[in-house]
Symmetry: C2
Subunit: 175 residues, 2 copies
């Protein structure tokens, strides 16, 4: 969203590059406050049990009815790992043992950085309202055409490849 | 900074948890716009040549006069890797060959995620005004007590340890 008013004094803003800065910012014409806008981190888990991964069917937009891994925007005061675990609990109800960072996917056009952790499924519980269904899928019964986000599809493909190799490693991609 | 006014209509905001949300947000009392605040990504490079690392002496606050690696806030429209390379060029003038992600350090109290990449020094050039001096240091002549940020000190310690082992790997820490 474009910034139209100063969040400190309510004055109007204009777009200009501050002295010593390399990017234009929304600067308040009244109090001079500079409004920075930066990418957001989306963090979540690739939860697995044996050779199956946990997917959530989305009960909300965007991509209502499509499948995805539990993930969402990291909040202030959290670490990436804590945020991934919280999102997993909220969206899938899964209790997991957190493992290594598995995917860093940049979406510069959307100003987002996806960070997905591997996590082993330990227990299940009730999921939140963002999800209508939680299921474990193997490579062959996974509804690939109904995966809601290409970052997630990319992560799932790398997961099953690494599973075949017997070794998980960190994957990085810029979309 | 606390949000006091709506950036969409200039109205007042109040702190409340939207329906279906788990965190309180600054919501405009006039137009209902919800202002989300999320952690920022700081990205940069651990630039090395042989057994030496490149450090910049800071010409600006915070930590004026202290040493650090080239790093700064990721901008909208960038990938983490591109941002790391840009910050490295701006702050140190170094032309580098980007390598693997080396450190993910979370600072939940500061709402920041540090992501440092390994990068091999290929050439040098003029540095920007944030820096007063750029120097290559080995483990034994590095001014450890004058390193300005503990995330950076942690990364440098892991770098020299991995260098001794002959193998670099990804390090993660929450401060």
């Amino acid at each position: 969203m474009e910034i139209k008013y100063c969040n400190q004094c309510g004055g109007s803003v204009s777009l200009a590059t501050p002295i010593g800065d390399s990017h234009p910012r929304h600067i308040c014409v009244q109090c001079g406050y500079v409004h920075y806008q930066n990418p957001k981190v989306v963090t979540g888990c690739l939860v697995y049990q044996g050779d199956k991964v946990l997917l959530c069917k989305r009960a909300i937009e965007p991509r209502l009815g499509m499948w995805t891994v539990p993930a969402g925007f990291m909040e202030n005061g959290e670490s990436t790992r804590d945020a991934a675990k919280r999102e997993t609990m909220e969206e899938s109800g899964a209790i997991v043992a957190m493992q290594d960072l598995f995917l860093v996917a940049n979406l510069p056009h959307a100003n987002q950085v996806y960070m997905l952790y591997l996590a082993e499924l330990k227990d299940t519980g009730p999921h939140g309202p963002e999800t209508s269904e939680v299921t474990l899928f193997g490579k062959d019964d996974l509804p690939w055409e109904e995966v809601g986000f290409y970052t997630v599809k990319y992560g799932l493909m790398r997961f099953f490849e690494d599973l075949d190799k017997g070794k998980f490693s960190l994957h990085e991609i810029d979309f």
